[in-house]
């Protein structure tokens, strides 16, 4: 069964159709990319999956469970974590606290536990701190635990967002342009990191403009243009698809698509 299923999802903002009748499935354990020109509706797809927007029509289901009507925090605790196109870390919290906050949905300490620091609360904090340290090491930030998120270099901030997202043990990780602003060396590291995340059993769904990275890392690619799916398949097949070439480069006769 598909991990995530979008069935004829449309989203209109006023008269503007940001997304029309989008259907696709994500299989568990895959690395899948979504590409498309600017304004194609890619980020809208993420915002619909995480419940920031409600679909105008159609439905989204995780593991067969419809997500319609659920709040963002509820959807997050069901196992969907994400990063943001414009990094949205907790700027004035330490890197370690950022990752520990990412674990929020999997923690049990109540308000009273937090107030009294009960033995259960203490041991949970210890375990979560340990786990957060492991995740910092996983994204090669083990020396930066005490730094403010905002004082990390750009690439480090991108990786910290990934560590924070992984802290909730998600089934599905949404990466919104993870390579944006990275240098070639960092991109190479990112490719390795995405592979290791999949090896943890996490399904990865990414939006990316960097074609080299997309072709290198993803097993399937979905292409959006003007809010519609125009192609889907292996990176090689998509690369040769005429509609995709047209969407990115315009038609051979010179008229814009």
């Amino acid at each position: 069964m598909a991990l995530l299923r979008l069935s004829s999802v449309s989203k209109n903002f006023g008269g503007l159709a940001a997304l029309s009748e989008l259907s696709f499935e994500l299989e568990a354990g895959r690395i899948v990319a979504m590409i498309g020109p600017n304004g194609a509706g890619k980020s809208t797809v993420f915002n619909l999956i995480t419940g920031i927007y409600a679909p105008s029509s159609g439905s989204i289901a995780l593991d067969g469970r419809p997500l319609g009507g659920l709040n963002t925090n509820r959807i997050a605790s069901l196992g969907i974590a994400r990063t943001f196109q414009n990094i949205r870390l907790f700027a004035f919290m330490s890197a370690l606290d950022n990752v520990m906050t990412g674990r929020h949905a999997r923690m049990h300490a109540s308000m009273l536990d937090s107030l009294l620091h009960t033995p259960g609360q203490r041991s949970e904090e210890r375990r979560v701190r340990e786990r957060a340290r492991e995740l910092l090491a996983f994204v090669a930030l083990e020396r930066e635990g005490a730094s403010y998120a905002r004082n990390l270099p750009y690439g480090g901030q991108r990786r910290l967002e990934i560590a924070r997202a992984l802290a909730s043990d998600p089934k599905l990780l949404l990466l919104d342009e993870p390579a944006a602003g990275m240098n070639p060396r960092e991109k190479e590291d990112l490719i390795g990191l995405i592979g290791r995340i999949r090896d943890l059993g996490v399904t990865v769904f990414l939006i990316e403009h960097d074609m080299a990275l997309v072709m290198n890392v993803s097993e399937r690619v979905t292409v959006l243009d003007h809010g519609e799916k125009i192609a889907e398949g292996t990176p090689d097949a998509v690369r040769r698809d005429e509609r995709v070439i047209e969407a990115y480069l315009g038609r051979a006769d010179g008229t814009a698509s």
Binding site: N71, R74, F90, F92, S114, G145
Partner: protein, 360 residues
């Protein structure tokens, strides 16, 4: 790691030892200084420290600017006045009221917090300002229950093991000292917890916080509730000590005063907030009245420095904003916000030590 940095151990010992020494000194104080007016001043300052610790949870931790915090102080005070006096013939014991009043105040915290959940920044501040005005006005107008502008007087005297507190400030001083100690402990525990991180996450980026699975509704309401409960406590002790509550004790200037204490001391930092409240209380109820009586004794009979109170607050706040906007003892985060560009190696080392201490 501690061994690799000379002075690290000493610094930590100082951090642990200083509050202990201060606590012992404060415990001994009433025995050393037999001047009741000094103890009385300290007890009043203690009530404001409790208020500031509570407001710090709402404004400092969760980043929700509350300009009507005096409302909860009023609710705490009036709870005691109505439940422990001749007013309704109810005489709930003082000690029991210390448990009941914070719960009542917390409930009102939730009630008044709920309509503001969707608001942020200026809009939140304006609505809380409104609530701060509505509550004392309500107590004023419900005159059949509250005696209107006259307030409620002759409240029950607290007593411990059959000994009434009487007119000495000393018993109240000790009650407040104990409550402040508990308040510090509670605030520290909250700060380093799942809930505390959720508050800070909301303060930093509410949308990202929701993506962490944080229920922002419940989390914000818990900040309002816990913050209000501190002022419920302060209200009970303050009312019992003063033996009177009236609506004019809880005007807007009280909310502003407590907020100024946070700004002066260092928002988000527990010790900073305590220092800020102490300094402003000292100016307000000791320095200005004392210098006025000195002036009177020296023959300047028409000079009243207490009238310059708000001018002085204004000057202090302007000077703070110019020279030390992060407060006297800032939290790490505030200091960084105001001094992004400068990196102080000493501060960095201290941060590292605190981090290691906190994560051991």
């Amino acid at each position: 790691m501690a061994g690799s940095r000379p002075g690290g151990k000493a610094a930590r010992a100082l951090r642990r030892g200083a509050p202990l020494a201060l606590g012992l000194a404060l415990l001994a104080y009433p025995f050393l200084d037999r001047n009741n007016s000094h103890v009385d001043f300290l007890a009043n300052a203690g009530a404001f420290i409790l208020l500031a610790l509570g407001l710090n949870i709402v404004v400092g931790f969760a980043g929700l600017l509350d300009l009507g915090y005096a409302a909860f102080f009023a609710i705490g005070s009036y709870s005691y006045a109505m439940l422990a006096s001749q007013q309704f013939g109810l005489h709930v014991p003082f000690w029991l009221m210390l448990l009941i009043a914070p719960v009542i105040a917390a409930l009102f915290g939730v009630l008044l917090g709920a309509p503001t959940l969707r608001l942020r920044g200026d809009y939140l501040a304006i609505v809380t300002l409104g609530f701060g005005e509505i509550v004392p006005q309500t107590f004023l107008n419900l005159s059949q229950y509250t005696n209107g502008p006259n307030g409620i007087s002759s409240l029950d005297q607290p007593s411990l093991f059959g000994h009434p507190f009487g007119f000495s400030a000393t018993p109240y001083y000790y009650v407040l000292l104990a409550l402040i100690a508990l308040g510090i402990l509670a605030a520290r525990n909250l700060q380093n917890s799942r809930l505390g991180r959720a508050w800070m996450a909301i303060r930093e980026d509410e949308l990202a916080a929701r993506h962490m699975g944080i229920n922002t509704t419940v989390t914000k309401l818990s900040a309002f509730a816990l913050g209000a409960s501190f002022s419920g406590l302060a209200g009970v002790v303050y009312a019992a000590k003063l033996d009177l509550v009236s609506p004019d004790q809880f005007q807007f200037n009280v909310s502003v005063l407590v907020l100024s204490m946070l700004v002066l001391g260092g928002m988000g930092n527990i010790w900073g907030v305590i220092l800020g409240s102490f300094v402003l209380s000292f100016i307000n109820s000791f320095l200005l009245p004392q210098s006025t009586s000195l002036a009177h004794a020296a023959g300047f009979g028409n000079l009243d420095f207490t009238n310059y109170r708000f001018m002085l607050y204004g000057v202090i706040l302007v000077l703070m904003m110019l020279f030390r906007p992060e407060g006297l003892i800032p939290s790490r985060q505030r200091a960084a916000e105001f001094h992004e560009a400068q990196t102080d190696p000493k501060l960095a080392a201290q941060e590292q030590a605190e981090y290691e201490g906190a994560t051991r």
